[in-house]
Structure formats: structure tokens, C-alpha cells
């Protein structure tokens, strides 16, 4: 309880960390903040060419570029934040050894900063949807629920990886592979029908799949919302978040000594 009060007292600091990360991220880059748009756009083009044209993956009623972009949108957020947040404690070592503040604010700052890129990409998605004349409906109302699951999941995993990284720098090297495997284990660039039917129930354990699928279903009228999947992914995300918070709280006592 006390730690939640502390987090609340210092809540502005997570905003300042996010603000610093955003301000600094694209400094001395000629294209500046445009990278937030260029990156997902390039990804979409590459995947559209590779999987849509060359491998001719069938994405159903939804045009493949839109299909892949709507999947990459939450995934780019999750993987991007994980990359930054996992190193957030290690790269702020002087702060950990010289000042007191609730340590969790560092990974949380990355979680917050990622939302800006997410919003920029969302605008791009709206543009794409207008271009392809996609029909949407009342299901759009579920987007906040999907985002909640996405943020909870990312925060939970970030708290684990960032705390682990303080003690074991191995995380820095293992994480990119982990992210890559996770991406291909999630039907983001291919439809779920590619996965054999008997393995599909296992996918429920991957909260990322629920997030991607629910986001698509909320956006495109052609896709029905799978409420059981959405609920499951929210539940798993919440569990991961709680485990992360619990582990972080246990580990943070030693941060200043082991870093």
C-alpha cells in the first residue's frame, strides 16, 4: 500500500522520464520524429511484399497491408517498449545509486513514452483504413480494453526484464531473440488459420495474440469479436503485470548494491 502511495506522490516523474526519452530519442536525427511514422510504414511495405505478394498469404476479407499494419501496431509498441524499458534501469545507473524515487517509474516512463509512437502510428492506420474504404462499427468501443491489456502486459514484462537486467546483463543480448521468437509465435504477419487447429487452444496463453486479434476485430466489421479470447488475454496480461510488480518490488531493494 505504501509503495502505491509513493508511486502516486512521484507520478509526475514517470511523465518526465517519458518526456525526456521522447525529446532525446530523435535528437540529431535528420528525419527527427518522422521516424515514428517511417518505421511502421517500412515494416508494412516489407511484409506486404514478402508475405502478401511473394508468399501470397491469404488474409481473408481484409487487404493484406491493412491486416499486417493493424497487427504490427500493437506489436511494435510491445517490442519497442520492451527494448527501451529493459535497459531503463541499467542505463540510468547514476540515478539508482544517488537518488531515491520509486524505481518502477523508470520502466513505466518507457511504457508511457511508447504510447506517443503508438498514437502516431494509429493516425497512419486511420489513413490506411480510409484509403481501403474499410467499414467499422460499434466494436471500436473495445479499443480501450485492448490497449489496457497491451499496456498491462508490456508493463509487467518490462518490470521483469528491467529488474533482471540489473543483475544479469545477459538480458540485453537474449532479449532481441526472445522478441523475435515471440513475434513469429503470434499470428501477426500471417492469419491464425496457418496454425494447425489442434495447436490453436495453446495460443490463448500468448496474450499478444488476444491483443492483436481483438484489435483487428474492433477495427474491421468483417471480423467478429472473440470475447473469450479478449477476456483471456486481459486476464493473462493482468497476471503478468502482477507477477512483474511483485518481482520488481522484491528485486528493487538490491538495485543500488548489485548494479
Amino acid at each position: 500500500m505504501e509503495c502505491i502511495a509513493e508511486l502516486w506522490r512521484f507520478r509526475e516523474l514517470s511523465y518526465f522520464f517519458a518526456w525526456r526519452d521522447i525529446k532525446v530519442r530523435y535528437r540529431q536525427a535528420a528525419f527527427g520524429a518522422a521516424w515514428a511514422v517511417i518505421q511502421p510504414l517500412l515494416n508494412m511495405i516489407i511484409f506486404s511484399l514478402l508475405f502478401g505478394r511473394v508468399a501470397r498469404i491469404n488474409s481473408g476479407d481484409i487487404p493484406y497491408p491493412l491486416f499486417v499494419f493493424s497487427g504490427l501496431l500493437p506489436w511494435t509498441y510491445i517490442s519497442g517498449v520492451l527494448g527501451f524499458a529493459s535497459l531503463s534501469l541499467v542505463s540510468n545507473e547514476p540515478l539508482l545509486t544517488k537518488v531515491y524515487f520509486p524505481r518502477a517509474l523508470l520502466p513505466m516512463g518507457s511504457v508511457l513514452a511508447g504510447l506517443l509512437d503508438f498514437l502516431i502510428s494509429s493516425v497512419l492506420l486511420i489513413g490506411l483504413m480510409l484509403y481501403y474504404h474499410v467499414r467499422t462499427g460499434w466494436a471500436l468501443l473495445f479499443i480501450p480494453v485492448v490497449m489496457l491489456a497491451m499496456v498491462l502486459l508490456t508493463t509487467g514484462v518490462s518490470m521483469i526484464t528491467s529488474a533482471l537486467c540489473v543483475k544479469y546483463r545477459d538480458v540485453r543480448y537474449a532479449l532481441p531473440f526472445f522478441i523475435q521468437v515471440w513475434m513469429f509465435a503470434t499470428p501477426i504477419v500471417y492469419p491464425v488459420t496457418v496454425i494447425p487447429a489442434r495447436l490453436r487452444p495453446l495460443l490463448v496463453l500468448n496474450p499478444c495474440w488476444g491483443i492483436v486479434d481483438s484489435l483487428r476485430a474492433s477495427l474491421f466489421q468483417e471480423m467478429p469479436i472473440d470475447f473469450r479470447l479478449m477476456g483471456a488475454s486481459l486476464a493473462v496480461s493482468l497476471t503478468v503485470f502482477l507477477i512483474g510488480a511483485f518481482y520488481f518490488r522484491k528485486a528493487e531493494k538490491n538495485f543500488a548494491d548489485v548494479i
Binding site: R20, Q28, L96, T97, K98, V99, Y100, Y168
Partner: protein, 434 residues
């Protein structure tokens, strides 16, 4: 109670060496092979603090002194919740602001203004609080003109001033300050001290750690001396500093055996063996009279031939103020090679114009860049200067009149110099009569 600090049986240990896993692989291997259950090489536990207890009342300003590694910094880190105790308890009433370093979290790419907000926020200020104090902070920092410049273009001094300006405007019940005055120029140090002195009127509790004993004595009425992780003495500042300096100087007077000093650093290629104080005719003296000539002889042993070393010392008063530092390097003397074996180096002083008191010498031997330390002995040697008729006036003086005196004459309205004054004394001090 707001502003009070209670520390009970506080201990903090660190594990060094031993079988501590440092990579994930080792950790996993340990888990697989049940290393935990096997009796492996015992790891060494060092106690940075052991069983420390004290209580500080709201509004008290307390100095904390002690040698390097005595546990001062660990204590501050525990008080400011940066690290957690191994056992014991810290009870702190109210908000703690810790200045263990100035400008922590400054980002070089951000402007001065942006960094004020960031740093303020890290120290626990709300944005509104910074908004309110912004003008005062900028004015205090003295970098108004560059406030919109990224601080990577700032000099280190400017960065320091900006950092201190933010920290100085922090409203907290307890302020913990560590060595921030050790850096920065004299004018800045003075400003910091003035600010800190100002804290007294704000009835804030302050803990002040410093090697600058004069500053501690200036600011604090109470002082805690920490040694070997324990409270060695807790009481009135003057008494504690006196005892601390007596301890550091070793109590012994002219006996300056340096076989096993406690405060020795360096790789040992050169080691100081002893120091003697000689009259010009080579007779060893226990005590030197103020104004007399003296030869300070540093006996050393070179464990291997060393090329281009510099040897010298710093001299401190018994209150820890640096009187002077001198060395072969300061004099531009090049020693091509110090042969293997023992030898000595003489510093001839024609007139030891120090006021009567005890002084401590810290000896050092380094390479010519100062990067490699062969030997360094903190306050291992005492020089005692006794009263003398320094102005030929029949009056005697001691350290209440300061640290040094100069060869001097008084002169009223351009008439003849008064009496004998120091005319004769001064000529006695001239090394080479003109």
C-alpha cells in the same frame, strides 16, 4: 515527528568475492547443480556499517566525519532509502532530500531549463513547485544566458551551479548532503556554504558529510565521527573534530615511523619509511620553533627502480585545513631514475613561518602524471611548531592568530619603519644574502 531521524542498530553488509553468481548462466548452473546446498568457497562479508544507533532532533544540523571507507556514504544511502539495511532500522520523519551528487540525472542533450524540470522532478518536486521557484533557481545558478542551451555545451562549473541551484530550492524536512562542496571553485563553495548556513533559519534537519572539517565546524553544532562502520564519537563538533584529528595524526609527536600506517594506499613500488625534521646542521628535532629554518627529510625505499617519480606532501592544520602542498613536481624537478633501495629526499625551508600548533603531513609518491600512485599516507606524520618570539616583540602567539605569519614591517605615514620589527628576522630568513 517531522524532521527527526532515529537510527537503531543499523547494519549493512556487502558480499565480496566468494561464490556469488554474476551471470544468468552461473545462476542457472548453480540451480542445476544444487550449489546452494554444497559448501562452496566461503564468500567474504564486509560490514560497511555495524550496529549504528543515534537520534537526531528536528532542526539539528549534524556533521558526519570519518576516513574514506568508514561507512559515511553507506549511512547516507540508507537514510535516503537508496539502499536497504541488512538489519536494524531507520525511522525518518518527513520528506528526505539527498544531495549525494549534484545534478544527478541531468541529460546532456536537454537545455538548462528542461534539466531544471527533470532534475527537480527526480529530486521529488512537483512541476508546479518547480514553476513557482523557477526564477529563483535560474537566478541562483547564474546561467540565465545559457538557460536554453543544451547542457552538453556547459562547462562543468556551470552544470554544478545549476545542479546545486535546483537542490537548494528543494523543500524537505531533512536534507542529506554528501561532499558536494568538494567540487567547484571557491566562490561557488562560499555560496553553497552560505545557502547551507541559511538552512539553520529554516529549522530543517541537515546531515552534512564532508572532508572539509572547517566547513563542518562552521555549520554544525553536533558532529558524529564514524570509523570502521561504527559510531566512534558523537558530540559537540569542536570536541569531535579535535579527537578525530588527534587520532588521524596518531598522537605521537616527532616519532614518525611509517612502517604500518593505517591510511596507506598505492602500489608500493616506492614506500615512505619515516620522516625526520632536522636543524640546518643536521640535528634531529622533535619540535620546531616558529620562524626557525628546518629540513624535512623524507626517507623512502624503492622496491624497484622507478623512473620519473614525483614525491611530496600536503600539510594540514589540526582542523583539517590544507596549509600547503609541495613536491618535486611542483618545482619542475625531474628525477630521471630512483635507484632500487633506500634513500632520502630533503626539503629545506629557510623560515618555517607557521603559527605554533600541530600540523599533519600527508605524503605521496606518484609517477610524473600523478596517475599511478606508488605510495600515499594520509596524515601519517605530525609536525609540531612551538611558540617563539616571532615578531621580536617579546609577545608570543599561537594558532588563535591564524596559521601563518609573514616576514613583515609596519610603517606609519611613510616614516621610518617602526623599531626593529622584522627587519632582522626577515634577513635571517633570506636564503642567500644579497
Amino acid at each position: 515527528m517531522s524532521g527527526s531521524i532515529t537510527v537503531e542498530n543499523l547494519s549493512k553488509s556487502y558480499r565480496i568475492g566468494g561464490a556469488r553468481a554474476t551471470t544468468l548462466r552461473e545462476s542457472l548452473m548453480d540451480a542445476i547443480t544444487f550449489a546452494r546446498f554444497r559448501d562452496q568457497t566461503p564468500e567474504e562479508t564486509i560490514w560497511a556499517l555495524r550496529d549504528v544507533s543515534f537520534a537526531i532532533e528536528p532542526g539539528e544540523i549534524v556533521g558526519i566525519i570519518g576516513r574514506n571507507g568508514a561507512g559515511k556514504s553507506t549511512l547516507l544511502k540508507l537514510l535516503s532509502k537508496i539502499t536497504y539495511p541488512t538489519s536494524g532500522e531507520v525511522k525518518v520523519g518527513g520528506r528526505v532530500a539527498a544531495m549525494l551528487e549534484v545534478g544527478t540525472g541531468f541529460h546532456p542533450e536537454l537545455t538548462g531549463l528542461e534539466n531544471i524540470y527533470l532534475n527537480g522532478s527526480i529530486l521529488g518536486m512537483s512541476k508546479r513547485e518547480v514553476d513557482r521557484k523557477l526564477d529563483a533557481i535560474i537566478e541562483f545558478s547564474g546561467v540565465e544566458k545559457f538557460i536554453d542551451t543544451p547542457i552538453k555545451r556547459y562547462s562543468s562549473g556551470m552544470r554544478l551551479r545549476l545542479g546545486f541551484a535546483v537542490a537548494a530550492h528543494l523543500d524537505s524536512d531533512i536534507l542529506v548532503v554528501d561532499e558536494v562542496l568538494a567540487v567547484g571553485d571557491a566562490a561557488f563553495q562560499k555560496k553553497c556554504l552560505a545557502t547551507m548556513g541559511d538552512l539553520r533559519s529554516h529549522a530543517r534537519t541537515v546531515l552534512f558529510v564532508s572532508h572539509n572539517l572547517a566547513a563542518v565546524e562552521n555549520l554544525c553544532r553536533r558532529c558524529i565521527w564514524i570509523d570502521g562502520g561504527q559510531v566512534r564519537m558523537d558530540g559537540a563538533t569542536h570536541d569531535v573534530i579535535k579527537a578525530y584529528m588527534d587520532f588521524m595524526v596518531g598522537g605521537a609527536l616527532a616519532d614518525v615511523d611509517l612502517e604500518n600506517p593505517e591510511n596507506r594506499r598505492g602500489n608500493g613500488k616506492i614506500q615512505f619509511r619515516s620522516v625526520s625534521f632536522l636543524s640546518p646542521d643536521g640535528v634531529a628535532q622533535r619540535v620546531i620553533r616558529a620562524g626557525d629554518p628546518v629540513v624535512i627529510r623524507l626517507h623512502y625505499e624503492a622496491r624497484e627502480p622507478v623512473s620519473h617519480p614525483s614525491l611530496g606532501f600536503r600539510m594540514y592544520t589540526d582542523m583539517g585545513t590544507l596549509v600547503t602542498e609541495t613536491s618535486t613536481w611542483h618545482h619542475g624537478i625531474n628525477i630521471p631514475l630512483l635507484e632500487l633501495g633506500e634513500g632520502y629526499l630533503d626539503l629545506e625551508i629557510d623560515c618555517l613561518n607557521l603559527m605554533p600548533a600541530k600540523y599533519a603531513l600527508s605524503l605521496w609518491a606518484t609517477d610524473d602524471s600523478g596517475a599511478v600512485v606508488y605510495d600515499s599516507v594520509e596524515c601519517g606524520v605530525t609536525l609540531e611548531v612551538e611558540m617563539a618570539n616571532i615578531y621580536q616583540s617579546g609577545k608570543e602567539f599561537d594558532s588563535r592568530c591564524g596559521i601563518v605569519f609573514f616576514p613583515q614591517r609596519w610603517n606609519l605615514s611613510g616614516t621610518q619603519p617602526f623599531g626593529r620589527n622584522l627587519q632582522r628576522d626577515a634577513s635571517e630568513c633570506e636564503p642567500l644574502p644579497r
